[in-house]
């Protein structure tokens, strides 16, 4: 990994620009780190969930008697036991806490139980007798569109709608349903406080919005529920929505005992939202020099049974449907459908992933039609800082180093032709003579932070006390490393190297917003930067100093207040950071919808057995717009991990749905990339000034997952000479 490192940053031990090792690394290596799955409390009961086996059915009756009759069962609750309005949802409360009269998707919760141990709880959940009148599910999103069963329609029109190019390419593309498949399943513990309230410790990406949905659905007051940070074994979007949170609180309040719940793997596959499957039609028109004249697209994204974040995902997909390119004339139409398929919501890349697969396939088609190199067509059309964004017309006033990314990728060395391994792995089925190497490119663009007028903010607190500096936040650590980066920011602003991060519950601090949208380094990081900056000003002002370092407060290089005394004075500053405001797009989809954007590019090299349709991804190289890499090794970890999830979507990861039912809800049939599937990765971090993130940092979590998929698909196309219009690519798409 290399960085362009053209910026100077303050040098503080373990500050920004260095890669201190995360504080939770050692306990995780020793097996001592406490995940939500590992929590226990005195007198604890275990919860379990009764789920619908049908994607659409009317509930005729529910008999809880057989479950209650089992020894050790303390509670069996149904919709009749929900105390409040009984609806929840991240954007809009449309999903019942427990199904009342109808079930609308396979796996929808119908009843919950609490029992002495986990085996008894499962047995009781299975014993709840539900009589269903099975109904025909609506499972085809285009049929849903025709019936106007939709969550949102998006229409974008920009430029002269009569503009036409002389070179025209058209394509239809499909994206299968990917699952986040975090290794830790949903888990949590709810502890009643004895006075009608409850403390919740559960897997989460956004503690405050979990709490808000618990209190609003159950008719409680905000101060009656405290949502605490708990160890999270990965998330990738799956934990942005609540799942077991409300159920746990109901059971704890009903039984008066702590209740723990852990989803098993197949339950996890039905218990959280997935990446939206997409059907996309695109038409690109260019002039004879390869300049894009017009892009038309129609996107159908299936939201499944309940809204979750479908409207925002669809908004993103449409906004990025033309990619990171300059286009004079744009017409994009999108629809997010409501069906009886599993609900879909957030997953790393959030709509940009699906769009990228389509627009990059189109750019390659255009390059073919014009006889151009794939990089040349992109370079001709690349957006630059100061341009207006093709779809919504917003001025790109932060760095968009796409041309640099394209040129950097072109200059990165290619692997030699030697093959260490053939496609097909341990099956050893490939023959060398059928293996063809292919090279493909993908470039993507993604919004950072929340868009479309959302009041996006984060609060953080920085304190100095005798034990050292502490950053407090309710931001969710889900594995990405904010526990490290937040301390680095505080160190660099204040000049003090002893800083730790304390994750606190919702009663102690205002919200940090969601750990999603590549936003925490920028948003909570911005709050930490703001709090630390004010604290520094106050300290210097109080002591009439001009600098602070590990010796204490300085004036003209001399220590005037030693560190120990400074710390003992006890300092505290709380700061709320807001990113630049964004607009709700108008009826034509125009307006400054995004607070900031990041671009990235990937070059994939694959070996394809064109007879058997097997693929081995040899390497994926990348250049990524990072603003400033606050912790280069963590950025590298995000890039390598994100690329492998992109590779997974390109060649193996798909939840297979038939008539609304998930056919492969387990790790035997839902394939995840192993260490043998992981390509070598070389990453170039492109640094520039100008973003509003702390020290100019941009979020880095999502871009690696967006265009890596498109690059792998393009490389397979290059090797196989097949159209490859669907991901994940299946053997029959190559070999037949």
């Amino acid at each position: 990994m290399t960085t362009t490192a053209r910026r100077t940053v303050p040098v503080v031990a373990k500050g920004i620009g260095e890669s201190p090792i995360r504080a939770d690394s050692a306990p995780k290596l020793r097996g001592e780190y406490e995940y939500a799955q590992d929590l226990e409390a005195d007198g604890m009961l275990w919860g379990a969930t009764t789920r619908s086996p049908h994607p659409r059915a009317r509930i005729v009756s529910i008999d809880i008697g057989p479950a209650l009759a089992i020894g050790g069962v303390h509670a069996v609750l149904t919709a009749d036991d929900v105390s409040g309005p009984g609806l929840f949802g991240l954007e809009h409360a449309d999903q019942p806490v427990l199904a009342q009269d109808m079930v609308n998707y396979f796996g929808e919760p119908v009843a919950i139980v609490a029992a002495e141990d986990h085996l008894t709880a499962r047995m009781a959940a299975d014993a709840v007798a539900v009589e269903y009148e099975i109904l025909e599910p609506l499972s085809d999103p285009e049929e849903a569109d025709a019936k106007d069963e939709v969550f949102r329609r998006v229409r974008i029109r920009r430029g002269d709608q009569s503009a036409r190019g002389s070179v025209v390419v058209e394509g239809y593309y499909e994206v299968g349903m990917q699952d986040q498949a975090p290794l830790g399943t949903e888990a949590g513990l709810a502890v009643p406080d004895g006075s009608g309230g409850v403390d919740l410790y559960a897997t989460s990406q956004f503690l405050h919005v979990d709490r808000n949905q618990v209190v609003s659905s159950l008719g409680l007051r905000s101060d009656q529920v405290r949502s605490h940070p708990a160890g999270v074994g990965g998330a990738f979007g799956a934990r942005e929505d609540v799942n077991l949170h409300i159920h746990l609180c109901m059971l704890a309040l009903h039984t008066g005992r702590p209740v723990k719940m852990v989803y098993h793997r197949s339950e996890s596959f039905t218990g959280h939202v997935h990446r939206h499957p997409a059907r996309m039609w695109m038409r690109h028109e260019a002039d004879e020099d390869g300049k894009l004249v017009r892009v038309e697209a129609k996107l159908v994204m299936d939201g499944g049974a309940y809204l979750s974040t479908t409207s925002a995902v669809l908004g993103n997909a449409c906004s990025f449907a033309a990619g990171p390119y300059r286009v004079q004339s744009v017409a994009i139409d999108g629809v997010g459908t409501r069906t009886n398929n599993p609900p879909c919501g957030a997953m790393r890349g959030f709509g940009a992933v699906q769009a990228c697969f389509g627009h990059e396939a189109q750019m390659d088609r255009l390059a073919n039609a014009l006889g151009m190199h794939p990089l040349e067509i992109r370079r001709i059309n690349a957006l630059e800082t100061g341009d207006r964004f093709s779809t919504n017309g917003q001025l790109l006033d932060t760095p968009i180093p796409l041309i640099e990314i394209i040129d950097s990728l072109a200059a990165m060395p290619m692997p030699d032709d030697e093959r260490a391994d053939l496609p097909g792995g341990s099956g050893l089925t490939s023959e060398e003579r059928h293996v063809v190497r292919g090279v493909g490119y993908g470039f993507g663009i993604k919004n950072l932070g929340f868009s479309e007028g959302f009041d996006d903010y984060a609060e953080a607190r920085v304190t100095l006390a005798s034990e050292g500096g502490v950053v407090e936040t309710a931001a969710a650590e889900i594995g990405q490393g904010l526990v490290t980066v937040m301390a680095q920011i505080a160190r660099s602003v204040l000049g003090l190297s002893e800083f730790s991060v304390r994750l606190v519950d919702t009663s102690l601090i205002d919200e940090a917003g969601s750990t999603s949208a590549s936003r925490q380094t920028m948003m909570t990081g911005g709050a930490v930067h703001g709090a630390a900056t004010r604290l520094r000003e106050r300290i210097l002002d109080r002591h009439d100093g001009d600098d602070i370092d590990d010796r204490g407060v300085l004036r003209n290089g001399e220590v005037i207040v030693p560190l120990a005394i400074l710390l003992n004075e006890g300092w505290e500053e709380t700061f709320t950071f807001r990113h630049p405001p964004t607009d709700v797009p108008d009826e034509e989809g125009q307006g400054r919808a995004h607070a900031d954007l990041a671009v990235a590019g990937h070059r994939a090299v694959v070996d394809v057995d064109v007879e058997l349709g097997l693929v081995r991804v040899v390497r994926v190289d990348t250049a990524q717009d990072v603003g400033l890499a606050l912790n280069p090794e963590s950025v590298r970890g995000q890039i390598e991990g994100g690329i492998l999830q992109g590779v997974g979507l390109a060649i193996m990861e798909e939840l297979v749905i038939e008539d609304g039912i998930i056919l492969n809800p387990n790790f035997t049939d839902y394939l995840l990339p192993t260490i043998l599937d992981a390509p070598d990765v070389e990453a170039l971090l492109i640094e520039n000034e100008g973003s509003w993130g702390p020290f100019g940092a941009k979020g880095v979590g999502e871009p690696p997952t967006i265009s890596s998929t498109a690059a792998v698909a393009a490389a397979i196309r290059d090797a196989s000479r097949k159209p490859i219009t669907r991901i994940p690519v299946r053997p029959q798409d190559i070999a037949l």
Binding site: S19, I21, R22, D24, S25, A26, K28, L29, R30, G31, E32, Y33, E34, Y35, Q37, D38, D117, H118, L119, A181, P182, L183, G184, T185, V232, G233, G234, A235, F236, V262, H264, R265, A420, S426, I478, G479, Q480, G481, E633, S634, R636, G637, I639, E640, G641, G642, I643, L644, Q645, N666, F667, T668, L672, T674, I675, L676, A678, V681
Partner: protein, 153 residues
Amino acid sequence: MIITFRLNGEETTARVLKPRSLLDVLRNDLDHPGSKDACEQGECGSCSVILDGEVVCSCLVMAADVEGSELTTVEGLSPDGELSDLQEALHEAGAVQCGFCTPGIVVAASELFRSNPSPSTAEIKEALAGNICRCTGYGAIIRGLESLAKARS
């Protein structure tokens, strides 16, 4: 039934009344939550333990079958609370993100390095082929273990 076995070097007994997995008994009866429960069908390696010198998924082993066995879990690989050189190598490489796969990776890699102090990159990958990591893309894990192989050779 009562089963007796050696858990991280200590004689241990457990009362197992139902057909339960070793993983379930370790986590819920024996206060050893280091082994993680992620897939329950032997696909991901998060629950890896060393049973009589062999790396196995404890979710696939019936608890009753460990009677008389020697069992090492992740808790037994850094008994004094210090990181082993293998853990230290992963630590320094930044191989830990969410960490849910980490105990299984540590267990599988420890057994590899016990039998082969200086494995090649291909041997490292082969030994960890049954351990799924969803966060890191495996790069830092490989770099960490490569540096250990170098240090030990």
